[in-house]
């Protein structure tokens, strides 16, 4: 009997250790290793600098503008960049690379996108900007004012979305707080 109970006590102590070990290993895997496996890390083809010292005289709207029909242009096309960078202007090697590889070959830069919504979502930039109290861009996008090098683009291998792609609850939450319509057909036409 005695022998049996001492075995039980010893087992309970080391059992806890096993439990902790399992817990720690799984946590490390779940929090650290799993995200590294889940997301592929990609670099932009050109390290474009949004920083004010590089594109100081420009407003956001110079490159990210609304078209005449009210749609939003999003990432600028080569045409927009070429307006200034038809030839190399500074000493930034990335600019040289851009001019040589894309401008001179008249090839669109295959920019990687950080934010995009599924086809079943109808998102209008105009509805958020061409209003009385426009939302600042940074409500949804990262602040790029000081960004010399664009962050790596981390794409979810399973879903194909970027890790910072906004989910539906974010939209709903903001709509609820601002008193905007939250009906399904506002976004899902």
């Amino acid at each position: 009997m005695e022998k049996k109970s001492s075995t039980k006590g010893q087992s309970a102590g080391s059992g806890f250790l096993f439990f902790i070990a399992g817990f720690v290993i799984a946590s490390v895997f779940g929090w650290v290793i799993f995200p590294k496996i889940l997301y592929s890390v990609n670099q932009q083809p050109i390290k474009f600098s949004h920083a004010l010292e590089d594109h100081a005289e420009l407003e956001c709207e110079n490159c990210h503008f609304f078209r005449d029909d009210g749609t939003y242009s999003g990432i600028p096309k080569l045409e927009t960049c070429t307006e200034c960078h038809e030839e190399v202007q500074g000493e930034n090697p990335e600019e040289k690379k851009f001019v040589e590889q894309y401008v001179q070959k008249n090839k669109e830069v295959p920019w990687l996108r950080y934010q995009w919504q599924p086809d079943n979502v109808y998102f209008s930039h105009a509805a958020h900007l061409k209003v009385e109290k426009p939302l600042p861009c940074t409500t949804c996008h990262r602040d790029v004012k000081k960004e010399k090098i664009p962050p790596p683009v981390r794409i979810n291998r399973l879903t194909g979305y970027h890790y910072s792609t906004m989910k539906m609850y974010v939209c709903e939450d903001c709509h609820a707080h601002k008193g905007a319509n939250n009906a399904c057909n506002v976004c899902h036409k």
Partner: protein, 798 residues
């Protein structure tokens, strides 16, 4: 420390706990829910700037204006109707809306292909370069020319709605061959009857806008007749405005009949008898337009010719042969109803009688159309508001003006294939069947090189074996098709044309339109395959042939040809380039359309940016008929030929002479009648997936086609709903299923046209049965045109 079972379980419990408190399961669950949104093979919407460009749809002879939505001006994502089009007025049919599925179809011909194995082997078709392909054709053409066999070249054209058909004619004329045939069309016969009765070699238009009462003798007004969308739109407007009452006579309850004020079922193929029954009552009761008939019609009364022979006129014939009681027996419409309809038709003006079948690829028989024109003529309904209209011609510059020296067109006519067969007919027309028959029947075919332009005779011709038997005797078949259709697969060389969205083309007045129409269809996309415009290829071939031909082809490309032809309209200074004016309203208010252009360049600019040229018919002045009598001939003198002296007077006036289907009634007790619907194209292209989705389960289920049979007929044949049967006719057979439907007349097997393809893509290939293969063609005794309407058939249960 020993790792035993207990330790393992404790470790596992810890791991589960750790996992549950980490993002792993929750993130995976969330991701799995949206996993399917970005599958690489799933089509995604393209980001980019949206623009719209304008053109004309070319998938049927309707001529609807289209508006194409483009992303970054290079990828087309949707096609809708152009509201400025005076024909389609912003509407578009399912086929036009599916245009992009043809553009990006897996059945597109990627590059010039040459058959390296036997004909029909799709794997034997190997890509070659354009230089090689054109070189090969030039070599063969030169060889035939050196052997003085230029008439060994023949051509079949399917798209006759633009200048290309005349350009091909011009090319062949220069080369020295008269053998240009086109696929059968409803206007083939109509033009001849119009030529015989009125002296105009034009299809007829119908002023539906201004008619108060329309009697429709079987035309699918709302399902593909003439210019389909125009007819739908005009009809809907007229009904909504409460202007029009519409009575429909047909053997099948279709969408068209369901929209009618009255649908009066008639026995299949007897509409012409009914029209003559109405003529009888109108004449007998003196309800006809005496003034018009006396001044403008020839042969109404009995008459005497120069030699003093007495002839029986239209009046005596119709009074003798078509009493309401007799017509009631033929048509199944009660005699009292016939009299009532005749009185209504002659009282409430303007009244219009229209006729025809489904889409425009089936010529009627000669006497049938005579009956309907005669009925309209009795009321003076010719070139009048709300009447039958002779379409004004479009004054494009004729190609003959480009000839630098005279050619011997008449001599060439002597060399035409099918001529021997057609000599047996007093008023010969489209000779495609006669030609195919002669080629198939000859030991050494006169034709050695056959070209196909926008034509798929191996599928579309009724009794398509007429084509396959003929090409077995022809050395080389060259197809210009953009798609791997039945005819291209059986060709030796394919020189793919650009698709309609990639090429320059034009569109000349469609059938049934009361006004003259001209539009330019321009490329809205860059070619996505290694294709070339057939017009450009012809110019290159002509230049490579050398000699005198070169001078006759002064154009750099086909776009230049179109600009050159447009000079004709500018010089004539007629019509107007409409930029959104509602042509129906203009017609209703009897307003005039003044020219808004001075030069061809100015007109070209307008027509390539969404405008359309229109000229309204002259409905106010007297018509100058170009017949021997100078009048509209109810007794057609042009039918007189020395060879047919024995013809009696009955053969010169409208009569009910249906073409009797062959086969014995006891062996083939039913009539197989093909029909057409808007969701199923029977044109040269196969049904696109968008439209096939619209077909319901009583028409196509999985791969099986359903024929529609009246329940009474099914009882008689001991067939129940869904029974699998063999339909057999004297010309072919196929396995189908039966759907019982009160919508079709007893004794009829109604079969939809447009299925049973053996080519194109996986979405349509092998589905259903090709109704054309079961349909019998008969040569019309007057014109020699191959016509079809019903075929005797039997059903055998499997």
């Amino acid at each position: 420390m020993k790792i035993n079972r207990r330790a393992f379980l404790q470790f596992t419990a810890g791991a589960i706990g750790g996992t549950l408190l980490s993002p792993l399961p929750w993130k995976l669950a969330d991701d799995t829910a949206i996993w399917s949104q970005n599958w690489s093979w799933r089509p995604k919407s393209q980001p980019g700037e949206t623009t719209w460009d304008y053109s004309i749809c070319r998938f049927c002879p309707g001529g609807c204006g289209i508006k194409v939505r483009l992303i970054d001006a290079k990828r087309a994502v949707s096609i809708t109707g152009n509201p400025n089009s005076p024909l389609s007025m912003g509407g578009l049919c399912p086929l036009g809306r599916s245009g992009l599925q043809f553009q990006y179809s897996p059945a597109r011909v990627p590059a010039p292909l040459k058959q390296t194995s036997r004909r029909g082997d799709i794997r034997g078709l190997k890509p070659i370069s354009w230089d090689e392909a054109i070189g090969e054709i030039v070599k063969t053409l030169k060889k035939l020319d050196n052997e003085s066999e230029t008439n060994a070249v023949a051509w079949i054209t399917g798209d006759t709605s633009g200048s290309m058909v005349q350009f091909i004619d011009y090319f062949l004329l220069n080369y020295g061959s008269p053998n240009h045939f086109h696929m059968p069309s409803a206007v083939d016969n109509q033009k001849l009857v119009n030529m015989a009765m009125q002296g105009f070699n034009q299809p007829l238009g119908f002023d539906i806008e201004r008619a108060k009462l329309i009697l429709n003798f079987g035309a699918s007004l709302l399902e593909g007749w003439g210019s389909p969308v125009r007819n739908q739109k005009t009809f809907i407007k007229a009904v909504q405005d409460g202007r029009t009452e519409y009575i429909h006579f047909d053997w099948r309850e279709s969408i068209t009949s369901s929209r009618a004020t009255q649908w009066i079922p008639v026995k299949p193929g007897t509409q012409a008898a009914l029209a003559l029954g109405l003529c009888h009552v109108i004449v007998k009761e003196g309800l006809y337009n005496r003034e018009f008939v006396e001044a403008n019609c020839f042969g109404f009364e009995d008459w005497e010719d120069k030699e003093g022979n007495k002839h029986r006129g239209f009046k005596a014939n119709v009074l003798k042969e078509y009493s309401p009681s007799k017509v009631a027996g033929l048509t199944g419409v009660p005699a009292e109803k016939i009299a009532q309809l005749a009185r209504k038709f002659s009282k409430e003006g303007p009244s219009l009688a229209i006729w025809g079948t489904g889409s425009q690829n089936n010529p009627a028989n000669f006497y049938e159309e005579m009956a309907f024109i005669s009925l309209n003529a009795l009321l003076g309904n010719i070139n009048k508001p709300g009447g039958v209209i002779n379409q004004p011609p479009v004054p494009l510059k004729p190609f003959e003006e480009a000839l630098t020296e005279g050619t011997h067109r008449k001599e060439l006519e002597e060399l035409r294939i099918g001529r021997d067969t057609l000599e047996e007919f007093p008023f010969p027309g489209n000779a495609i069947y006669a030609a195919l028959e002669e080629i198939a029947g000859s030991e050494h075919s006169q034709v050695k090189l056959l070209f196909l332009y926008e034509a798929n005779p191996a599928y579309c011709l009724a009794e398509p074996k007429a084509y396959s038997e003929a090409i077995s005797k022809i050395d080389t078949v060259v197809s210009f098709s953009s798609f791997l259709d039945e005819s291209s697969i059986n060709a030796d060389l394919i020189l793919p044309n650009h698709t309609p969205l990639e090429r320059w083309d034009d569109f000349i007045t469609p059938a049934t339109s009361p006004f003259a129409f001209y539009g330019i269809s321009k490329p809205v996309l860059n070619p996505v395959k290694k294709t070339r415009h057939t017009g450009d290829v012809l110019i290159r071939i002509a230049k490579a042939l050398g000699g005198e031909i070169v001078k006759n082809f002064p154009w750099s490309d086909y776009q230049a040809v179109l600009k050159w032809r447009l000079e004709g309209i500018a010089e004539a200074s007629e019509g107007r380039a409409l930029e959104g004016e509602d042509v129906s309203r203009v017609m209703l208010t009897h307003a005039r359309l003044e020219p808004n252009f001075k030069t061809a360049d100015e007109l070209w600019k307008k027509l390539t940016s969404g405008a359309f040229w229109v000229k309204l018919p002259d409905t106010t002045s007297e018509t100058k008929f170009k017949t021997p009598s100078g009048k509209l001939e109810l007794y057609v003198q042009k039918l007189k030929r020395d060879k047919f002296k024995k013809w009696n007077d009955r053969l010169f006036v409208a009569n009910f002479y249906p073409l009797e289907p062959s086969g014995k009634k006891d062996k083939f007790p039913y009539l197989l009648i093909p029909y057409e619907i808007m969701q199923l194209t029977s044109c040269r292209v196969a049904n696109p997936p968008f439209m096939t989705k619209l077909l319901d389960d009583t028409l196509l289920k999985r791969k099986e086609l359903f024929v529609h049979v009246n329940p009474a007929t099914a009882r008689e044949a001991r067939l129940s709903e869904g029974a699998r049967v063999t339909v057999e006719t004297p010309v072919g057979k196929g396995i189908v299923k039966v759907h019982l439907s009160e919508q079709v007349a007893p004794g009829v097997i109604a079969m939809a046209r447009g299925l049973g393809h053996s080519a194109f893509d996986e979405y349509i290939k092998g589905k259903g049965v090709n109704a054309n293969k079961l349909t019998e063609v008969q040569l019309d005794p007057v014109t020699g045109i191959g016509t079809w309407w019903a075929t005797r058939a039997k059903l055998t249960k499997l």
